[in-house]
């Protein structure tokens, strides 16, 4: 894994941040040389107002910090990041909130977490990635920001990844990882499940467990409830 550093902003005063970074870097100059950075603005109080993302990145760059992604929840921040083609990560604690969103009405969700700045924005919908040829061992296919649909067999040693759901219409003998950015609502659908691994939002089962499942070899629907991977007959 690549080690990244998260810069969690608690204020929006760039001049102050400049001084703070300068102090930090002075303490350990070698450490801050070209380090990959995630800027987190999801904890930034509402009252701090709109951030100037470009200026912020430039400031970080000045101190040797290379911005990889923005962790944000507010619509304006996400839009600013997209404009700069900067990847956006969901706010920390998004997983708990997503479940609440599914289960509870919005009013209830707000009552439970009144201190949170705003509910996380639904990721923008991208068209599904559709693969209409066999996916062979050694091949990897990733559907960023959306669903992956495979019309054909997926071999042992092949890997399917999606930020959203994964559908496989053919024998599935490889690995499928849905919700790779942490979407616990992501699901997997297999016409014939003989997978090496199935994973949703990082919760997984490997072939050893899957083979013992009564649904092995059948049409299945895979979903997450809490931290349990459910496999049910389609």
């Amino acid at each position: 894994m690549l080690a990244t550093t998260i810069l969690e902003l608690s204020h929006n005063d760039l001049a102050r941040l400049d001084r703070q970074l300068e102090e930090k870097v002075a303490q350990a100059p070698a450490f801050f040389e070209n380090i990959p950075l995630i800027i987190a603005v999801d904890k930034l109080p509402e009252a701090e107002g709109q951030i100037d993302l470009a200026a912020l990145m430039q400031l970080c760059g000045k101190h040797g910090l290379r911005t990889l992604a923005l962790r944000a929840g507010r619509e304006e921040d996400i839009a600013a990041a997209s404009a700069l083609e900067l990847p956006v990560l969901p706010p920390s604690g998004a997983r708990e909130k997503l479940i609440e969103l599914v289960e509870a009405r919005q009013a209830a969700a707000e009552a439970v977490a009144p201190a949170e700045p705003e509910k996380p924005k639904e990721p923008e919908r991208k068209p599904s990635k559709v693969i209409n040829h066999p996916v062979r061992g050694g091949q990897q296919i990733y559907a960023a920001d959306g669903d992956l649909v495979v019309l054909g067999p997926v071999s042992a040693g092949a890997e399917l990844l999606a930020d959203g759901n994964i559908h496989i219409y053919g024998p599935m003998r490889g690995r499928a990882l849905a919700g790779v950015k942490g979407d616990t609502g992501a699901q997997i659908f297999c016409q014939q499940m003989g997978a090496e691994m199935l994973s949703i939002a990082g919760i997984y089962k490997v072939a050893e467990d899957l083979r013992r499942d009564p649904q092995w070899g059948r049409s299945v629907h895979v979903s997450l409830s809490g931290d349990v991977l459910n496999i049910t007959r389609l």
Partner: protein
């Protein structure tokens, strides 16, 4: 323009060279001007199986390096009028093959032949990649066992993504499965995968099934491609495969355990 056909597998020792020699010879027997090219630089073998090892003067690498012309390097088969072999170098290492060099030779061969058969080395490295890069069709040689099937699957992925056709967005390489060293008895005992199992996993068109046969070893020791041993089961199975390659609809044989009945003992194999 010739059809460029690669014989490949990923896994080693599954029967690629045996197959290249048999299919190439079969095509020539049926009147098609054919050349078989050995891509296994450093481990050349094809010339032995074709029985022309004593007549190798120049090889594939010499032609790439402009040390010899193609005409000088092509070895004409003694038995068949329209069959040629381009031997691999025994002394060079694998880096002697380059994409430009191979492309140039393949292009030149395409002008003069109907079929160019590329006998791939094992693995998925440079040699194997260059052998399949220019192909129009691929014969994926597989033994009925899990590791061989898995390597073939991997190779199929490369054929679909790392070939010239894939890179240029042309029609994909036509892929065909040739199951070799098939032993129905061991399949029945569950010691080997059956034809259906392999077909299901790889999901490609079946070109043929070549039985495990003593005739293959005998043929390669004599330097005669096994397809010329028309009495043998393996020779006949390769003959069927060539017919299928040429578009004929031929039923598959040698798939079942031979029952040694009285008729069979009297009249020999079918």
């Amino acid at each position: 323009m010739a059809k460029i056909l690669v014989v490949t597998s990923g896994k080693g020792g599954v029967g690629k060279t045996t197959t290249s020699a048999a299919i190439g010879t079969g095509l020539a027997l049926r009147g098609h001007k054919t050349v078989i090219v050995d891509f296994d630089v450093g481990l050349r073998n094809l010339d032995l199986i074709m029985g022309c090892e004593r007549r190798v003067v120049y090889d594939f690498v010499n032609v790439i390096n402009n040390e010899a012309t193609l005409t000088q390097a092509l070895i004409k088969d003694k038995r068949l009028e329209n069959l040629y072999v381009l031997a691999a170098s025994q002394t060079r290492d694998k880096d002697a093959l380059t994409k430009e060099g191979v492309g140039k030779v393949i292009d030149e061969l395409s002008q003069n032949f109907e079929y160019v058969i590329c006998d791939s080395p094992a693995g998925i490295e440079t040699g194997a990649h260059l052998a399949m890069y220019f192909a129009d069709e691929a014969i994926v040689v597989t033994n009925p066992e899990v590791s061989s099937v898995r390597d073939s699957d991997r190779m199929l992925g490369l054929l679909a993504s790392k070939s010239r056709r894939a890179e240029q967005g042309l029609e994909p390489i036509k892929e065909r499965l040739l199951l070799t060293r098939y032993n129905p008895e061991r399949v029945t005992k569950g010691e080997m995968l059956g034809v259906e199992d392999v077909e299901e996993i790889l999901a490609i068109n079946l070109l043929g099934v070549i039985p495990e046969s003593q005739a293959v070893l005998k043929a390669s020791n004599q330097g005669v491609p096994v397809i010329l041993d028309e009495q043998s089961d393996a020779g006949q199975a390769y003959g069927d495969a060539v017919d299928r390659l040429l578009g004929k609809d031929v039923p598959h044989r040698f798939l079942d355990v031979q029952k040694k009945g009285l008729m069979q003992r009297l009249f020999g194999a079918r």
